[in-house]
Symmetry: T
């Protein structure tokens, strides 16, 4: 087995429902354009407030995925 290399990108998933769904939405969107997603790390949870209640949650994530060998 060769030595794999991974790429790590930063994304921000959002949700009006809560922080776990914000994480899941970000991972789901990343999976649409990148293959081999392997892990995520939450680097920050933030959100916007409107009229005194939380309008949406923002999950700042690092997402790691294995690089295929270039053709």
């Amino acid at each position: 087995m060769s030595d794999n290399t991974y790429r790590v990108i930063e994304i921000v998933g959002t949700s009006t429902a809560g922080s776990d769904e914000a994480i899941a939405n970000g991972v789901s969107r990343a999976s649409k354009t990148m293959e081999n997603l392997d892990w995520f790390e939450v680097i920050e949870i933030r959100g916007h407030i409107e009229n005194g209640s939380i309008e949406h949650y923002q999950a700042h994530l690092k997402v790691g995925f294995r690089l295929n060998e270039p053709a």
Copy 2:
């Protein structure tokens, strides 16, 4: 439009139900005495344990709000 200034305060919301509700409770309480709440950042999630299970969650938050011009 003039250049706005924001104030950022630190609060700790608590909940027996979970970390998202602890966040929401903290934001809700802050909105009772401050206007123009705009965003929050989670800076720490902690909690107390009693008899081996979680008694409550504590969400340490920064909450930002726009300052009105002084009269």
Copy 3:
């Protein structure tokens, strides 16, 4: 009352359901072998991804508990 001393250990609770359950699972497992659990702090939320969706959440926790006096 004498001056108590506490020990703080680091554990990783996991869950397929979400980050709060990962925290709760870690605390629950720790309570099976340690007494006097007092507080937890979340130091990182990570997770594994399989086939583009979250396979499980990992909650890295510090858990503090009061030391009994040695016999």
Copy 4:
């Protein structure tokens, strides 16, 4: 001379012109409602982008000021 106590608050000054003016605007606004401002520390420079250019700068500041003795 007695031992002074200081309060430190966090504000966000903004400017369309640049980061130094964002700092200065934040300090200026704080001075309208607080006395004895003594120092500032820049904790973050951020900003918003619109149509590919910087729309405004945001200087996150800690501002310290000496507390008067309560009457």
Copy 5:
């Protein structure tokens, strides 16, 4: 029992005698204008030097206190 909310403020206590007294002076001053003080965290110890010896100690503290419900 309802879910409490706490506020956390940053102050700087000072003392010519030492760092513990700087902490205590800051907490004491805060208690004159705020109720329900609950905990402190030391975030930095600094000080001024004059003629080669320490002129005073500065204890940067976060101080947490429980918010009463607004009337």
Copy 6:
């Protein structure tokens, strides 16, 4: 309105004139190949020195932009 996802990339803008221009140059270059740029955060200001004076400023930035839905 659906839940947006954002991507955050790290770039280094440079300028011989100053740190704000280094920030602006980095944002301007990023806008040539990416759409929907939304915010930036300065993560470090560095620079090179030649013959005892500053030869250029380097602004390390995170730049966030909204992802379009994949076609």
Copy 7:
């Protein structure tokens, strides 16, 4: 001489008298159940406040000790 290995544990010493005594109490308690204690590092000083004055100091410490070879 072989290459030693050390273990590092986190404890919280407490004291009503001051932060140095909280450190010393934590080290003293650790020495009752562990041998070969070698160094400590203070990672946080916190404390509880009751009726506006400091009720006790908490010194969060890392304590390192040399591991004996397993029998």
Copy 8:
């Protein structure tokens, strides 16, 4: 000479041999699909353990490269 802009990406190089080779493997893989690589920074060294010995090293790197002007 115009003001250059650089891009910084995060990758994870791996090796069964050691941490320097993990760094080198990551840089080598990045050079296959990106031009003008200029510097790297190690942000974390981790690794997997199997049967009590290190199975592979993982070097988390930031890698910076100069952007060409878009055509």
Copy 9:
């Protein structure tokens, strides 16, 4: 499959030969008294100097291992 829990401990491996061997020595020593070691993270590389050259390297590590269910 049930939700696993992991424990993370901090150790310091040492070596006169280099930092990778210090890491390996620490992991090897840990494997003598703990089962199911799974990963390590390097949190600091330090060392002692004698007569102007490096006498030994110290690798501060976090080591994670899966907890078995208590009997």
Copy 10:
């Protein structure tokens, strides 16, 4: 070419005009007594406030310079 060694020192440049000039003043002063200055990193921007406006900016810098071989 031999392997160079660099020294990194910390200085604080000040200016009444702005943060870039504070950086430049610090670098300029350092160049009067040290040769081969190569790079700087801004580690903190602070300043003093008098009568509600900024009296001077303080740029805390690390400055790196190449060491000549000792004679």
Copy 11:
């Protein structure tokens, strides 16, 4: 008044008596070879343990002092 420049150096003061005396010893020693000492910041408190009790405290300090103009 011209724009002053400051130098910041790192020292470690030690004491068998306590952390404040370790700070004071470090500052006192620094004042023997450097003029115009102006402030200190505590960056770490550590210490050595022998036979289960604290043998000495080590206060890692940054010490700032104003630079005179070179002749």
Copy 12:
């Protein structure tokens, strides 16, 4: 025995061979002009890349040494 004071300086050792040799080169160069070197801490590993492979490693180090009493 009197209370020793230590000085801590920051240097950058470099090597074309690897990170351990970069550390060793930096310590070796420091030992040519300073006595009583006692310990080092690695604060960052970086390096330059040319034509897609690592041209040299840079080990940013803190090096501590005991101060002699001034004459």
